[in-house]
Symmetry: C3
Subunit: 150 residues, 3 copies
Amino acid sequence: MNRNILRVTKRFTFEMAHALYNYDGNCQYIHGHSYKLYVTVLGLVNNTPGSPKDGMVCDFSVLKKIVNEKIVEPYDHTLVLSEKDESKKHLADSGQRTILFPVQPTCENLLLHFKNEILNVLPNNLTLANIKLYETEGSFAEWDIRDQDF
Amino acid sequence: MNRNILRVTKRFTFEMAHALYNYDGNCQYIHGHSYKLYVTVLGLVNNTPGSPKDGMVCDFSVLKKIVNEKIVEPYDHTLVLSEKDESKKHLADSGQRTILFPVQPTCENLLLHFKNEILNVLPNNLTLANIKLYETEGSFAEWDIRDQDF
Amino acid sequence: MNRNILRVTKRFTFEMAHALYNYDGNCQYIHGHSYKLYVTVLGLVNNTPGSPKDGMVCDFSVLKKIVNEKIVEPYDHTLVLSEKDESKKHLADSGQRTILFPVQPTCENLLLHFKNEILNVLPNNLTLANIKLYETEGSFAEWDIRDQDF
C-alpha cells in the first residue's frame, strides 16, 4: 500500500482498413476503423530534482516517439490483409498501401503484433504493463502483464 | 511476459429507470440513467488458420448476442424497483415495464445480478474477467476476477 | 470466482495550470489542462435491507465529498509550480492562486500527492484501490493497489 509503483499511459489513433479471411460475417469484407491504441508502462517515479525528467516514470514524449515510429506511421492509412487471402492479394500491387499480415488481422492478433514491435525497442528501464486496442469505442482487446500468470 | 492471455471487451448501453428504497438522498426518487455495461472475457487467441474464428479469443458477435439477450433486451426501457418498496409497487400494475428486484437496485447490486446472468450462459471455453456498469460517465461499479483473492 | 469484491469509482474534473521546472520541452512553460481524476475504492457490498446505504460498497456521494474537499476545491483554478522554480515564484505574490509544490508537479507526482491526501481522510472501512489522473484524454498516470507487489 505504501509503495508507489505507477502506470503511465499514452493514447494513439490511426485509420486502418482490414478484412478477415474466411470469416462468417461482415468482417470478411474490406472495412475500416478509427483504431485507438493505449500503451502503458509501469515503474517507479524518477526522483532526481533538477533533471529534465524529474518526477516522471517515463516522459510521455518518449513513449509517444516509440509508438509513433513503430505502429502509427507504418499502419496509419493502410489496408491490412491476411497473407492467406489470395482473392485480395492483387490489391497490394494496385497502388494501395497494403500490408500482408502473416496471421488473421483480428483485433487480438494486431494487438499481439503491436506488443512485440514495442517490446523490441522499449528501453530496458521501462516495463510494458498494458496494451489495449480499440476497433471501435465499444469493442477492444487488451493484454496486461498481471493476467499472464492466470 | 511471454504469455499471450488477452482480454476482449464489448460495450452495451441501455436506458433504465430506478429508485433506491429508503435512501437518504435524491436517489430515493424515480430517475434514470443511460447505463453503459462493459463485459470482458479472458483467454488465449484461437489459432486455427482457415477457421472463421481464427485469431480470436471470442468473436465479438458471440459476446454481443449473449449480453443483448440476457441483459439489454430485458432491462432496456424498464423501471427497476426494490420489491420491498411498497409505495411504488402499484407501478408494476399500471402498464409500466417494471421489474421488482429482490434487492436494492444500486449500481453494485445490478452489476452482481448481471454478472450471474452472464455466467449462467457463458460457454465453458470463456472466462468472465471483468464486468463494469456505468450509471453515469462519472460513476461506475466494477467486478474483476483478479480482485477476488484480495 | 464466487466472491463479490467490487470496485466503485467516481470521476472528478478540475482546471489547473502547471509548469515543469527545468524540463527540456514545452512543459517548462506555464500551461494548463482539464485534469480528470478517477478515485476507486474496493470492498464488499453492504447488505443491510432497509438501511439508506443498503446495496452499496460506498455511497458515491461520500466519495464525492471527500475528493471535492481534499482535491478539487484546493486545486481547481490554481497554478502549481515547483518550489524550486525561483524564476516563477513571484507569481505567488501577484494575486494568482499559486501553489508551490515541494516536488516537480508532473502528472505522476500530483497523483501520488492526491493519493496521500485521500488516504489521510478515507474512512477505515474503505480501501483505496486505484487512482488515475488524466492530464489530457490521451495522457494519464495511474496507481493501483494490485501493482504494488510487482
